[in-house]
């Protein structure tokens, strides 16, 4: 165990230090672990429906029943208008599909550290792989529900309703990425905070429930335009995404380009803050979790 020769001192592969560079994304490292990312996505998807009879069909049953309930309560009983989208069932289903995606991204990524503490405590791999895998595996689920929505649209087309086809459809992937970005950003912020104080996990569960009512899911944005609650929709960065999603599908929705830009900027900001906090926490969370 003699001294290191001076000329050899420079080239090290790994340097472990107390301080992190704040905005180190380690994209190169994440790319090196892409196989792991893919396997995590597969695990999420496969493991969930092992030993069930219906398997992935559960992805369809849940939104169909939620849609029917919303249709009954908000449509039939409360008589809330659906922005002229006909039949109303498509209005609710489209809202639920995109909201489910956001809620799943947020809930699942926010559990990143606490749910995987046992793995994180023993092996190192870029921690960001896990929240990313959650976002991706939820895209698969979203895809299934979106296909279901299309099936319903085609079904109603044959019953005499029209399908609104336009170039706006091309915008849907962008909306999904924005939803994913906001869900991921908020999720990793919350997961980082939860490592030390579990209060945030408790907060999140009902924040998501309440959040749905602050987003035009069960009512159209236009419904609130003339009420004093308009500001809620306006500060909610998800509103314009949902409205734009419906506009792309059905040609009806209330939003401006400025609203979308606001959502986009919001996404970048939460991702930026999320990455900083996540990087800071991932190094030492094993001591506090």
């Amino acid at each position: 165990m003699s001294e290191t020769l001076p000329h050899k001192q420079e080239k090290w592969d790994i340097v472990i230090e107390p301080k992190t560079h704040l905005l180190q994304l380690n994209l190169k490292e994440i790319w090196r672990y892409r196989d792991l990312l893919q396997l995590f996505v597969r695990r999420d998807f496969v493991a969930q429906y092992k030993q069930t009879i219906l398997g992935p069909i559960w992805h369809i049953i849940q939104p169909v029943f939620t849609t029917l309930i919303y249709l009954l309560i908000f449509g039939q009983i409360a008589n809330i208008p659906t922005d002229g989208i006909e039949p109303p069932i498509l209005f609710y289903m489209s809202g639920i599909t995109i909201w489910n995606y956001f809620a799943a991204c947020l809930t699942n990524t926010s559990a990143t550290f606490t749910a995987n503490a046992s793995i994180f405590g023993k092996v190192y791999f870029p921690r960001m792989v896990l929240p990313l895998s959650v976002v991706i595996s939820n895209i698969v689920r979203f895809g299934i529900q979106f296909l279901l929505l299309l099936v319903f649209m085609i079904f109603y087309y044959f019953k005499g309703y029209s399908i609104h086809l336009s170039f706006a459809w091309l915008f849907i992937p962008v909306l999904i990425i924005m939803m994913a970005g906001i869900g991921l950003g908020l999720g990793i912020i919350i997961s980082s905070l939860t490592t030390k104080y579990r209060d945030f996990a408790v907060l999140l569960t009902f924040a998501i429930q309440l959040g749905m009512y602050a987003t035009p899911i069960v009512y159209p944005s236009s419904f609130l335009q003339k009420t004093p609650y308009k500001w809620i929709i306006e500060i909610n960065p998800l509103s314009s995404i949902v409205e734009c999603f419906r506009y792309s599908l059905f040609g009806k929705g209330t939003f401006t380009a400025g609203d979308l830009a606001y959502s986009g900027i919001f996404m970048l900001v939460v991702l930026f803050i999320g990455t900083i906090i996540f990087n800071k926490v991932e190094k030492s969370f094993m001591d506090t979790v």
Binding site: M1, T4, P18, R43, G121, F125, K283
Partner: protein, 427 residues
């Protein structure tokens, strides 16, 4: 000279004791306030030396305190120390699962740690799916895993169950599969915690054998943490002895182990019974026992090539009783290695205090830890006057440099006699 692959420089790690709750947010705010004013973290100063047996005043302790050392390529380094000495914390930092508070570690090459096998196994997934998932978690690519897949399944011996969910596996199969994946990693630096060595004897042997192969045949660096001094001695050339978060000694494995067992282990090389606790009856009672070398000097541990003396002092109280001193030696597995008694000695017929030494010849005991029970008895009628069970506990170690066979692993067997071999040519 081979190059340095790990360089640990002034590494320290602080932990907060107790619960995290409402109290810790006050500390967090305080810490933030100090930092805003450009001052040092106030909680770093009050950290105490980590000795879990003593009650401290501070909520913060240094699990690692200013550790520096270097590891060369192909070296097999052992780390020993009591529970809580900082070994696991050091491994956690080396394997990047937690970060240091101060100092840094520089590493050349890929590091893989076997802190616990089977990390990330998902019970619902099949053996096949888990091999891929676990391999990827440990840092292998899918291509690498696919190339080694058959080898892994073969090593684990679970071919028949490969498409069954691992929750249906017996615990033995589960561990075998998990170890098989880990054993087929090809990192430049392998970190092994002794958690690995909790399986059955066969499994332990497999683990240790694999580590030796990795180091000697493949020229990789291995860091091995263990309480098992014999394993460290046979496997490692160099060792580090950690105590309360600091390095107490580093260097040649045998020297380090010798110091360790001198200062830390439950070795009892000298025992003196207080007056009212002396085992014994109206015929005889024991006063003192100690382990000595051939010159009757006290020793803490013995070498395999050294004569060992077990000396005990006792008082005979009854005229004409002539008790017979005898000894029972056990190994840590509880096997009675041997028992021995002195011939009936007329000297002991007179009351008084006596000292008896029993000499264990060199090259009799294998390396390992032994317990010696000391007794005196009379046989007609049969009666035991005292039996001081586990009176002495001592280690026998082997100086690997003096071994005359090229085999470097642990010699099996309860005893290790030096035997004569004869080979003649027949044609």
């Amino acid at each position: 000279m081979s190059k340095t692959v790990i360089s640990v420089e002034q590494l320290s790690k602080e932990y907060r004791l107790g619960q995290i709750g409402t109290g810790s947010i006050a500390h967090d705010i305080n810490r933030w306030w100090y930092r805003m004013r450009g001052k040092e973290d106030p909680y770093l100063k009050i950290g105490e030396e980590n000795d879990r047996t003593k009650k401290g005043n501070s909520e913060y302790v240094w699990a690692l305190n200013d550790i520096s050392f270097q590891v060369k390529e192909g070296e097999l380094l052992g780390i020993i120390g009591k529970n809580g000495a900082g070994k696991s914390t050091l491994l956690k930092i080396l394997s990047k699962t937690t970060s240091p508070t101060k100092g840094c570690v520089k590493i050349r090459g890929r590091v893989a740690s076997l802190l616990e096998v089977g990390t990330g196994f998902h019970p619902e997934l099949s053996g096949r799916e888990n091999i891929f998932l676990n391999g990827a978690i440990l840092g292998m690519t899918k291509g690498e895993i696919r190339r080694k897949f058959d080898e892994i399944v073969d090593f684990a011996g679970v071919e028949r169950y490969i498409d069954t969910p691992v929750k249906r596996y017996s615990s033995g199969m589960y561990v075998r599969l998990a170890f098989a994946v880990a054993a087929h990693l090809e990192p430049e630096i392998l970190i092994v915690d002794e958690v690995l060595a909790v399986g059955d004897a066969e499994f332990q042997k497999k683990c240790l054998g694999k580590m030796q192969d990795v180091s000697s045949k493949e020229g990789r660096t291995v860091i091995f943490v263990s309480h098992n001094l014999t394993a460290v001695n046979t496997l490692c050339e160099t060792a580090i002895y950690m105590k309360n978060g600091r390095i107490a000694k580093q260097g040649n494995a045998l020297d380090v182990i010798e110091l360790y067992s001198k200062t830390e282990s439950e070795v009892v090389n000298h025992k003196k019974w207080p007056v009212d606790e002396r085992p014994g009856d109206e015929v005889a009672e024991i006063l003192e026992a100690r382990l000595v070398d051939k010159d009757r000097n006290s020793i803490t541990m013995a070498h395999t090539d050294q004569q060992i003396g077990v000396e005990f002092t006792y008082r005979v109280k009854k005229q004409g009783s002539q008790p017979v001193p005898n000894i029972h030696v056990f190994n840590m597995q509880g096997d009675n290695v041997f028992a021995s008694a002195e011939k009936s000695n007329p000297v002991l017929g007179v009351p008084g205090t006596y000292t008896t030494v029993m000499w264990i010849p060199d090259h009799l005991l294998n390396d390992g830890r032994y317990l010696a029970g000391l007794a005196t008895s009379t046989f007609v009628p049969e009666k035991v006057h005292f039996y001081a069970k586990e009176a002495l506990i001592f280690d026998v170690v082997e100086d690997m440099e003096k071994r005359d066979v090229d085999y470097r692993g642990k010699m099996p067997g309860v005893i290790r006699p030096k035997l004569n071999w004869e080979t003649i040519k027949l044609d």
